[in-house]
Amino acid sequence: MNTAQIDMQTNSTKGELDKIVEEISHVILGKEKAIRLSLTCLLARGHLLIEDLPGMGKTTLTHVLANILGLDYQRIQFTSDLLPADILGVSIFNRESSSFSFHPGPVFSQLILADEINRATPRAQSALLEAMEESQITVEGETRPLPKPFFVIATQNPSNQVGTFPLPESQLDRFTMRIELGYPDNMAERELLKGCDRRELLKNITPVINSERLIEMQKQAESIHVSDALLDYLQDLLEYSRRSADYVNGLSPRAGLSVLRCARTWALMQGHPQVLPEDIQQVLPSIISHRLTKVQDDGYTTQENIAAHLIKQVPIP
């Protein structure tokens, strides 16, 4: 394939993705960056954690994403009495066949919305998180593959809210991105208030692409060119996070891989034939903010702050 063809393909993919973003933006108003990031995360085969206060549109975003990408979709409402079997499935004795038959749980679908994940006990949380990492689950001695593509979008309330079990760092690391939606701006708010019910809008959404096309796009993103100069930059960032005395721990190699995958996808979404430092800078905040902890957390450190600090410290080579 020559460069012109690649460019053309990239451009057509960009068109499709722009259309998806546009569609979603009709429902989630004024949150284009968050929408693009969540799309990036899914295209980069990552799992997404949306953290915000109740009522900010977390669930709605997930619904829209599932619908528009044409994925089959299950929602698990995490509560403090949720058991692993409620997620994974359970074997039930069938009298007619005189044997146990497995009833798959909600985890066996392409997109899972784990709603308010931090309200469940660590035991239930870990059942899902294992599935996320391995893309397969083992129930009663039998390993069962999960469908492809397989995404988990988890939402959680900020950990300082009552009745939450905060995810430990090791499990947070499994989420490629953590994004916040935040309050809508003035205009978006007005439009939201004037417009009709969001749930009605959801029903009208038709899939723009299907899961095959999604997998294709994933592959396309992986073929986006990455130069040595860019890798130098990425390594400098990782190196800085590890060397600097500002952070408790440096970024893991998995974080580095995630940044690169997401940067590629972001570049695809922007229609760039190659990854640019800007692409890294765009995706970096949502990838590293839940992985890095400032040594002296003053309580005001936001996702943007911690990443902006890192980006400022590292010159582009």
Partner: protein, 666 residues
């Protein structure tokens, strides 16, 4: 920081270099310090190189190895104390340093240890110069410094990108780059007379030369030495070889065995009557740890080493205030033809002094001569005739003399060296009532046609006599010449077998190769002479003379420091500039072009920030300067395509665009 040895190959390489460098700097000391220290040092070094991580002393505070090493070190230090009776001083200090270097390399596991050991190695290099400062030493030590620098380089090559060859090249370049600074410091650093710091007392024991007393065998030992005593550069005329008597101490007193100098007066009024043109020359005297200088018979002036540093005595010795422990250079005038009249009472007594009740047989002989009615002059002639006609031999290995040495030599053994002849002759003269004295010094010298100067070796050491004759005053008489005339006319070389002069067997077979060897020797000595003149003897006088050539006649040390700063600061600034310029950030040509582009925009007030991506910057710049937006986007696109799209074919295009990008500054 943890130990780097076990897991890191680079550090291992640098450790090998360090071991090699240390060993190289220790090796020249093999002859000078006790052998067991060298062996201990080598064992410790090899142990460390063989298993670098095994002897890791940082992990556990108290391990058996650690205790063992500590005890070994204490034993070593005690051993040095017992060997030398001290742990300071030159030899003991160097031994201690070598010993501790061995222990330092064994405990090297951290970065700091490495650097400390390395600098210890550089210091060991310096200690060798306490003993010898020849060209060979300098070359060898440069190689050692190169290896030490190589170890520093490999240690800092974290990514192991450099081969040994490449690192050596860098190390050599580094050393070459340091030469300008070194030269400036060498030439301009203010010199003070005397060494910069006091040398330990044992530093001068190795110096050879004529002693201030003479006993049988004292000179014949020197004859075996091939060392240079001094070099002489004649200004215009060269005296004949038979006139080359280099005057040293004058001996007056004898106890029948030994001859000593005694006190000499200052020369108040010159009793020297000159009878020929003066011979002007410059002497470069090797250190001999004695308080006198040498000059051609007869010295006509004080060599003026400095105020109250030297003087000339009434018996024409050139004495100095301090022992000569550094090579010095002085200008002299001598008169080959002279007359010294005047002999005061004191001198007369001194010059007739003899031990009581000795030399009975000789006394009888002289009495007999006197009875024959011989005049003083005739007695002198008779005595010389005795030496030349009777069976006297000139030999380096005379038989041992006991009891009355003069009698035994004169009547029994009849084999001797210049000191035998001179002392016997003086005793004979004094018995005859003729004032006489012995003069020690050198006779002859070798002309070096390459460097156009004379070399006087230790083997030219000689003893001759002076007798006082009424009409002529003090007259030189060389009884050795009567026995072995060749010794005086042709020089000592003709009177000695070839192997003493140091011609190797393979060169001594025929005259052609002997010539070649001579020629090589002369060239080598000439090079050495230049090295001595310009490097080692570069003292305050030389410095002044050298700087005067550049119009800096009256320069004091503060101006020299000022000059040093003036010369070195630009070099350092230049180096800093080069170093800053070649940071990896600016290394790639594409990046350089982009930086150029950014600089051009910076002139318009749009400054690129280090962490700003090219597209972001282009957007910002285009927003500020709408008129330039097309160009800015063009350049940015090409830059992105090359740097992030690896499309190197566009480099010329980028060059062109950046060159033609000329934003107006308003």
């Amino acid at each position: 920081m943890n130990s780097r040895w076990p897991e890191n190959n680079t550090s291992l390489n640098s450790l090998y270099c360090l071991g090699a460098g240390l060993t190289m700097s220790v090796l020249p000391h093999v002859q000078r310090i006790p052998g067991w220290i060298i062996v201990l040092f080598l064992v410790l070094t090899i142990w460390k190189l063989y298993s670098p991580s095994q002897v890791n002393l940082t992990e556990r505070k108290f391990s058996i190895t650690r205790i063992f090493l500590f005890i070994l070190m204490v034993i070593g230090i005690i051993g040095i104390y017992f060997h030398f009776g001290t742990i300071v001083g030159r030899n003991a200090g160097v031994s201690l340093l070598v010993l501790l270097a061995g222990f330092k390399i064994i405990e090297t596991s951290q970065e700091r240890d490495f650097y400390v050991t390395c600098f210890l190695g550089y210091f060991l290099v310096v200690t060798t110069f306490l003993y010898t400062q020849t060209i060979g030493t300098a070359i060898y030590m440069s190689c050692t410094v190169l290896v030490m620098t190589l170890s520093l380089l490999t240690y800092n090559d974290y990514q192991q990108k450099l081969s040994y060859k490449a690192s050596s090249k860098i190390a050599a370049t580094l050393l070459l780059q340091s030469i300008p600074v070194m030269l400036i410091l060498f030439v301009l650093f203010p010199r003070i007379s005397g060494p910069l710091w006091g040398m330990p007392d044992d530093a001068h024991t190795g110096l050879t030369g004529i002693d201030d007393e003479m006993s049988p065998g004292s000179i014949s030992q020197l004859i075996l030495s091939n060392k240079v005593a001094f070099r002489v550069d004649f200004k215009d005329t060269q005296p004949e070889k038979s006139q080359l008597y280099w005057r040293g101490p004058v001996l007056w007193y004898t106890d029948g065995k030994k001859w000593t100098r005694g006190e000499s007066d200052y020369l108040d009024a010159a009793p020297l009557q000159t009878m020929s043109d003066p011979v002007a020359y410059t002497v470069t005297l090797e250190p001999h740890n004695q308080k006198w200088l040498y000059a051609l018979d007869m010295p006509g002036q004080n060599p003026e080493l400095g105020p109250d540093q030297s003087w000339i005595t009434s018996d024409f010795q050139l004495l100095t205030q301090k022992p000569i422990r550094q090579r010095i250079r002085y200008e002299m005038i001598s008169y080959p033809e002279y007359k010294i009249s005047g002999l005061n009472n004191d001198e007369l007594q001194k010059s007739l002094q003899l031990p009581r009740q000795q030399h009975g047989r000789t006394k009888r002989l002289i009495h007999q001569w006197k009875k024959e009615g011989l005049s003083k002059k005739q007695i002198i002639k008779r005595a010389l005739k005795l030496f030349s006609e009777d069976k006297f031999y000139y030999t380096l290995n005379p038989p041992l003399l006991e009891n009355d040495r003069v009698d035994q030599f004169l009547f029994e053994t009849k084999q001797g060296f210049c000191e035998h002849y001179a002392s016997t002759f003086v005793v004979m003269m004094r018995l005859a009532g003729i004032p006489a004295r012995i003069v020690l010094g050198y006779q002859g010298g070798e002309y070096n046609p390459v460097g156009d100067y004379f070399v006087v070796h230790q083997r030219n050491a000689h003893a001759w006599t002076e007798v006082w004759i009424k009409e002529q005053g003090w007259t030189r008489v060389d009884p050795t010449a009567a026995v072995s005339p060749l010794r005086v006319i042709e020089g000592i070389e003709s009177a000695l077998p070839g192997n003493i002069i140091g011609i190797p067997l393979m060169f001594s077979r025929n005259s052609l190769t002997r010539q070649l060897w001579r020629r090589l020797n002369y060239s080598w000595d000439a090079v050495n002479n230049q090295w001595n003149q310009w490097v080692i003897s570069y003292g305050p006088k030389r410095q002044k003379a050298f700087l005067a050539q550049f119009g800096l006649q009256k320069i004091d040390w503060s101006s020299m420091i000022f000059l040093i700063i003036i010369f070195i600061v630009p070099i350092l600034i230049y180096l800093a500039f080069v170093l800053l310029k070649s940071t990896p950030e600016n290394g790639e040509p594409v990046k350089r072009l982009y930086i150029k582009f950014c600089k051009k925009l910076a002139r318009c007030g749009i400054h690129h920030v280090a962490h700003e991506g090219p597209v972001d910057f282009a957007k910002r710049a285009a927003l500020k300067r709408g008129d330039l937006s097309q160009q800015i986007y063009n350049i940015t696109d090409i830059y992105i395509a090359i740097r992030y799209g690896s499309n190197n074919a566009q480099i010329p295009s980028l060059q062109e665009h950046v060159r033609s990008f000329r934003p107006s500054t308003n």
